[in-house]
Amino acid sequence: MMVSLLPVWAVLTPVLGLCALLLCERWIRPERVAAPFVGLSLYLSLSMTYQVMTSQAPLVYALGGWLPPLGLTLRADGVGVFLMTLTALVMTGVAVCAWTPSEGASSRGRFSFWALLLALWSALNLAFTAQDLFNFFVALEMLSFAAVALVALDGTRGALVAALRYLLFALAGSILYLLGVGLIYGRYAVLDLAGLREIAQPDTVTLAALALMTVGLMAKTALFPLHLWLPPAHAGAPAPASAMLSALVVKAPFLIILRLWVDLLPLPAAAPQQIMAGLGAAAILVCSVIALRQQRLKLMIAYSTLAQVGYLFLMFPLMPGPAPWQDIGWTGGLLQLASHGFAKAAMFLAAGLIYEALGHDRVAELGGLARRQPVTLAAFAIAGLSLMGLPPSGGFIAKLLLLTAAVEAGAWWIAAVILAGGILAAFYVFRALGHALADGDPPVAPVALYRQGAVLALALCALAIGFVPLRPFALLAIGRPLEALEALP
């Protein structure tokens, strides 16, 4: 492993940006204050990824020189930097797309948006690098508060109700998670993942604590049947906010679930993994069908998020080996996470630009869009390709890996669900595309080309993941298995 301060600055740079926004609120427009911090955070994430790839070792930092179990460490392993890169690219895309020539100084919407974007970024980087169960909790709370405020940003009654529901779900999830943390501490007096890995036993207290934490996190990641808060929240938020929420925010609790079951207490494939996969399968089938029936584009995309989150949970029984990161199920699940992140960000941003252009997002009235906004529509179509799992796209390779893993594991029902989910996704994506390609001549407000370009770039990122070779992706295995820090390296 390599000692590096970069994970610390990746968490704190957006915090510095938040402070700068508060300090300069009265003088400088918020997007101008935030922009350098967005750039710096992007640079940090990319350079961390570069370092991890070149050294083939995780970047580790023990804060204040205090080692676990007393102290806290940040550890950017292959999975961590992979997700941080996803976050950085999506955030940059969102920032470019939300960069509109503004008049006047600070307004409620604009200031809050940029401040919350930075807050989310810090929380996500922390969630991806933290190694301590309570540190995760802090990351989740930062994430939830910023996300709830983003949902309510439009200030309409519907958005406020959606935000309130979201907050109550998030709080319930937090409290369950915290209860689990308390039990773990009572059992082991250790909260550090690597330390716990060495001593954790599958006894009643530990399993109950894990179950509590997992259910709490499922509520936050909106796994069926704890998903009811998500569609109104993600559809009610402003489009750039929805992009961050759907692409990134629901992924952080998922990653923590993954770390709990792979890093904290690795168990042979058994009931918990099967239950998680079962719920994931239910999410794919039920929510895809509901997505098919939505009249509004943003609601359709939100239900699609629920289905795509379901795929992530399929990976749990598909990593049967003693080193799950060498199984294709691991690679498939994490590639699904990233390709969905890019695709969904592109889709929500595209829906936002469509709304700006047409003044509505009713699926049935999208006619004529193809001619008037070809770039946006192309982005939407490419992102849709990835959701359906058609080649060449990240979604294709992710689902193919999961499918192969399911066949190898003999889990035919999972294979069937993956195929059915792809077909259902094809139905709802093509329905929207079909309407958009239809004739029509609606009045269209102009949308700057660079904003459409940013959306297209994100969609192309989803496409690019499709060119990863069809085998366990080496980056995602860097820094595994987790090793305890014995002395200050």
Binding site: V15, R26, S106, G155, L164, L179, A189
Partner: protein, 311 residues
């Protein structure tokens, strides 16, 4: 003997909780919540966690209760998230609650004996930090990142609260409170308590390094005094977009991060406290944090800005 004490504290706690849930009147439930908070703080004293007891009394019971009481006064109609529960749902909920209680109780009884502990590990480095209160050491040294980010959580909550305000009130102040003007008794109380409270807050802050107390407890007390002054009409609520508000909110995290960076140069690690000046540095950072916490707490209780400023 201690069992008896525990019982005399635990029973009112449960009775209070049952009252809060069972009473039909929201206002009665809120007053019950204050009493509950007081008993909870006493329970923390009985658990030998005086630092937590102070925080619970100040934030958990006090500030939260005040916040909800104010909310209840301002709400024109209750916000409902569903239908009133029928008898069937009540029975089901009661069974579920009993089941959860039993399961959780059983889990607690199943915890290992003797309990694993980090207590010894927290005490050992105390001399190098120059502070004597191990809880303070956990907060400011061993788990300093948690504390730093917790202040950020407060900041995010303030940003979120402002985001939830109206466009009209952006950059303004919260609505005055109470709306009919303060009662003379309150003004009298404020004049009497504020000087005494300031002295006590300074004492709490200073003693926190070595004995129970510290920046959170002192900051909450200061925030409570400020709120009292606002309620009594003796001081204005902070203007949410104001120059000084922004600076006050940012100074805590900035000072903490700056101290962390100094730690790299002077002690070889981010957020490490260089030994000879550990204590003065810690005090300085805690002062800056206290400023941010006080302003954040006051803003969070006072609510989103609703009045326009005259700017």
């Amino acid at each position: 003997m201690t069992e008896l004490l525990a019982l005399t504290l635990a029973l009112p706690l449960l009775a209070g909780a049952l009252f809060i849930v069972a009473t039909a009147s929201t206002r009665a439930a809120l007053f019950g919540f204050f009493a509950f908070g007081l008993f909870l703080a006493l329970a923390w004293v009985a658990l030998d966690a005086v630092d937590v007891a102070l925080t619970e009394a100040a934030i958990g019971g006090g500030a939260t209760g005040l916040l909800l009481l104010r909310l209840n006064g301002r709400m024109r109609h209750p916000v409902s998230l569903g239908e009133p529960a029928g008898p069937r749902l009540k029975i089901a909920a009661g069974l579920l609650a009993a089941l959860v209680t039993l399961a959780l109780g059983a889990l607690l009884l199943a915890l290992p004996e003797p309990a694993p502990s980090l207590a010894a590990a927290t005490v050992e480095p105390l001399p190098t930090l120059g502070i004597g209160n191990p809880v303070a050491a956990v907060l400011i040294a061993y788990r300093a990142l948690d504390t730093l980010l917790e202040i950020v959580v407060l900041l995010i909550a303030v940003v979120g609260l402002r985001a939830l305000g109206t466009d009209r009130g952006w950059g303004g102040r919260p609505v005055p409170w109470p709306e009919g003007g303060p009662s003379p008794a309150l003004v009298f109380l404020a004049r009497l308590l504020i000087p005494a409270g300031l002295v006590f807050a300074a004492y709490l802050f200073w003693v926190g390094a070595d004995a129970p107390g510290g920046k959170f407890q002192a900051s909450t007390l200061l925030a409570a005094l400020w709120l009292l002054a606002i309620m009594a009409g003796l001081a204005p609520a902070p203007s949410s977009g104001g120059r000084w508000t922004g600076r006050a909110l940012a100074i805590g995290p900035l000072a903490f991060i700056a101290a962390g960076a100094i730690g790299i140069a002077a002690a070889g690690s981010f957020l490490a406290w260089p030994e000879p000046v550990a204590k003065p540095m810690i005090i300085a950072v805690e002062l800056a944090l206290a400023v941010s916490i006080v302003v954040a707490l006051v803003l969070l209780v006072a609510g989103p800005p609703e009045r326009e400023t005259g700017r």
